[in-house]
């Protein structure tokens, strides 16, 4: 059972659920206490100790039945239940003969399992598959193909032929027809069970291999690479980099906030703090300003901008504890509020689906009309505590610039900041309207790699 739980934890990790070693030890202890007799309790015990994010619950619910559920392959049974002792004797004899001359080795083992009902445990089966097939070298997305490949390489389809051969021999040896029919039936059931077990272990093998590979890959320092090159990076690498940058940024911000003496004198707190100096105000306390910003991000998701938008949104979501509220919007030809996506999915998954929320194709960015829509429908996302961040190149292929709408947003917002990955010399050329919007912003940052992006985000907190 322990091995099964460990396998389950590996599979969860492979699906992106973060589980530490301490948590897996907890899970073992919880199972020990809750017992395995009642499946509902067993399930709750694992869930309480392993899954700590609501969004990982579906993954857990999906994987749990695969490991502990009803669709675990039925155990093999010993065929020959309806035979008399002599007949069984004959069966064993014939089987020995056939097995002795049977090759290749893997087929012999399979046939033996099928006819004797003595199967393998999950890990034995996985080792067996690893040794004899190449199926686990494929990727998880190809699981059905991998299973088929494993079956082919094990020559699984020859089992039927071997079974018929054996039955024929037994028939010649005078075993009754009824007993043979039952034997055939039982052997077929065993074969079905074996097929299921192979399929499942191939899947487990694939997941495990992927999880291991992911662990082995070092995280490169991607900070100074331009965004276009980062577009094709793996999700996990991106997440690792972003998390590290976010941690750095968080420490910096927290320290700065602690040392900042902003705001009005807090008389009550000062008196209280200075009682220990018998009322001499040595230690002056200030009222803390609202230090946590509210952020509304309006992102361009046209093809050229997707990578930088992805990084920006991931960074903002990694810094959630430093921000009191985030409202993300994306635009292309149309604009859409995508907060719901970020509430339901992991940020990196949400980023993959949000471009579908808006319409647009190549050369169809329509910033002007999107601004118009925003001021009409979404102005509630902007108030005097909100910092509005525009993230885009400022291109507009469909509509004229719309400084009036921009001004409306600016009037309502605390600050308006623009992050632009295009170099400044391109601003205002051709369809680019950056030169019109830039002077109206409180700050404009040129961000072409992660280092610049982090510096720009850092600026939001000061």
């Amino acid at each position: 059972m322990d091995q099964r739980i460990v396998d389950f934890i590996h599979a969860l990790r492979a699906k992106g659920v973060r589980i530490s070693v301490a948590e897996s030890i907890d899970a073992m202890r919880c199972v020990e206490i809750a017992g395995v007799a009642d499946k509902q309790f067993f399930r709750s015990a694992l869930r309480a100790s392993l899954v700590k994010e609501p969004r990982d619950l579906p993954t857990f619910d999906e994987l749990f039945p695969r490991f502990f559920g009803l669709d675990t392959p039925p155990p093999l049974q010993q065929p020959g239940g309806g035979m008399s002792p002599e007949e069984r004797e004959k069966l064993a004899q014939m089987l020995q003969q056939m097995l002795a001359s049977l090759s290749p080795e893997q087929l012999r083992r399979l046939f033996e399992m099928m006819m004797t009902g003595q199967g393998m445990s999950g890990s034995q089966m996985r080792q067996f598959i690893d040794e004899h097939t190449t199926a686990t070298q494929m990727t998880t997305g190809f699981q059905p193909w991998a299973t088929r490949r494993a079956m082919r390489e094990l020559q699984f389809d020859r089992l039927e032929q071997l079974l018929q051969e054996l039955l024929q021999k037994l028939r010649e040896a005078g075993v009754s027809e009824a007993a043979l029919r039952q034997l055939e039936q039982e052997a077929r059931e065993n074969r079905e069970a074996l097929a299921q077990q192979i399929g499942r272990e191939v899947g487990n093998g694939l997941q495990q291999r992927e999880a291991e590979e992911r662990r082995r890959r070092p995280v490169e320092d991607l900070q100074d690479r331009p965004f276009e090159e980062l577009k094709y990076q793996d999700d996990d690498d991106m997440r690792a980099v972003i998390n590290r940058l976010a941690a750095q940024l968080r420490t910096r911000v927290a320290l700065r906030q602690k040392r900042a003496n902003k705001g009005a004198l807090d008389a009550k707190s000062t008196i209280r703090a200075n009682l220990r100096y018998s009322g001499v105000p040595l230690d002056i306390r200030h009222r803390r300003k609202h230090l946590k910003p509210r952020i509304t991000v309006i992102c361009d998701v046209s093809g050229s901008m997707r990578a930088v938008t992805g990084f920006m949104l991931m960074l903002v979501y990694a810094l959630q504890d430093q921000i009191s509220r985030t409202r993300p919007f994306v635009y292309y030809r149309t604009i859409a509020d995508v907060q719901a996506d970020f509430q339901q999915l992991r940020p990196e998954e949400a980023i993959r689906v949000v471009p579908e929320r808006v319409q647009g194709g190549p050369w169809q960015t329509s910033l002007g009309s999107c601004l118009e829509t925003f001021t009409r429908d979404h102005l509630d996302a902007v108030d005097r505590r909100t910092t509005v961040i525009f993230l885009g190149d400022g291109d507009d292929h469909m509509s004229p610039p719309n400084p009036r709408a921009f001004e409306t947003i600016k009037r309502r917002a605390h600050r308006v900041v623009w992050f632009n990955p295009e170099p400044p010399y391109r601003w205002g050329r051709e369809d680019n309207h950056m030169h019109i919007y830039a002077p109206m912003c409180d700050a404009v940052h040129h961000v072409s790699n992660l280092r610049q992006l982090v510096a720009a985000v850092d600026g939001l907190f000061s």
Binding site: E23, A45, E53, R250, A254, R288, Q322, I323
Partner: protein, 322 residues
């Protein structure tokens, strides 16, 4: 205390709380492992209530720490009572004069005073806040740390230390160890991500809105006088409202409030006028109210329902289309 998960269920049910298997198992594990529980879920599904009934079921005292932005150690752990210290110094001035009588040098006076320092930095002048109270309590307690997501990240880090060892160090007094390890329940409304370190140390419990049957059970338990048919209809309506695209969905506590209101108004049958008049108990935003009313009116137009209930399918469909 509890020997099986079934015991937990019975004990919590005896406190008029209906625990799901999930909740019972987690509480049982927390008791056995001594680990804190982190309960997350929408507002008003009974997270805080769970702490109360847990404390009551085990006969422990409940100590509550409500978190908010800017909460720090002096509010959560302890604070020296400077005013009291000053007052004592003033009142004891004569005594101090006696003590210092016959001293010839300044150094000697300082030494004598230093020998008495312990008097002023003792637990007599310490104002214990909830965390310290929970740790120093003579009897076992249940500690509820409510809405931890509202506190700052630094406070969370500080809390980690307390929760992992159940001891705190006060520089003037030394380390204070818990006499009885308190049972801890943290709640979060998920307004921000909690740190992984905190989650790692806790058992995780996700409490969601109950299913229709569970909610009906809850209503029957909490509002016993309500006619069964009315309770059924009320719960059905609430479940439908949760399916709609609203700013804030009605919580379980609001369902109970509404059921109580229906009982007080002595209503026997749930018709449209009654719903319209009492809907403000369930929905707290004007926009939500109007949306729900519109859905009802539209429903009347298309298909007259026996009690004018909302049809959630076309309502949510309409808003998804936007």
């Amino acid at each position: 205390m509890f020997n099986t998960i079934g015991d937990v269920k019975t004990a919590l049910s005896a406190q008029r709380y209906i625990p799901s298997d999930e909740i019972a198992t987690t509480v049982f594990l927390a008791e056995k492992l001594g680990k804190p529980i982190l309960a997350e879920g929408p507002a008003g599904v009974g997270k805080t209530e769970l702490a109360k009934v847990w404390a009551a079921a085990t006969g422990r005292e409940l100590i509550r720490l409500q978190c908010y932005e800017g909460l720090d150690e002096t509010k959560a752990l302890y604070e020296w009572e400077y005013a009291k210290q000053l007052l004592y110094t003033q009142l004891l001035r004569d005594k101090l004069n006696d003590l210092l009588a016959g001293v010839t040098s300044l150094a000697e006076a300082a030494d004598r005073l230093a020998a008495e320092e312990d008097v002023f930095f003792s637990s007599r002048f310490m104002l214990p806040r909830p965390l310290l109270k929970a740790i120093t309590s003579e009897r076992p307690v249940t500690l509820l740390i409510d809405e931890i997501d509202r506190a700052d990240a630094e406070f969370e880090a500080f809390l980690l230390e307390v929760l992992s060892d159940f001891q705190v160090s006060v520089p003037e007094l030394g380390t204070i160890r818990a006499r009885h390890q308190p049972m801890v329940l943290l709640t979060s409304n998920n307004t921000r991500e909690l740190s992984e370190a905190l989650k790692r140390r806790c058992l995780y419990l996700h409490i969601d809105y109950p299913t229709a049957e569970q909610e009906l059970q809850i209503v029957n338990l909490k509002v016993p006088g309500l006619p069964p048919k009315l309770a059924q209809q009320a719960v059905e309506l609430v479940q439908r409202l949760r399916g709609m695209d609203l700013k804030k969905h009605p919580s379980v506590s609001e369902t109970i409030d509404w059921a109580r209101a229906l009982l007080e108004l002595n209503i026997r049958h749930l018709d449209r006028a009654t719903i319209e008049n009492t809907l403000n108990v369930l929905l707290k935003f004007e926009g939500d109210l109007q949306r729900a009313r519109r859905a009802m009116v539209r429903d009347e137009g298309t298909r007259r329902d026996e009690f004018g209930r909302l049809r959630r399918d076309d309502e949510s469909g309409r808003f998804r289309g936007n």
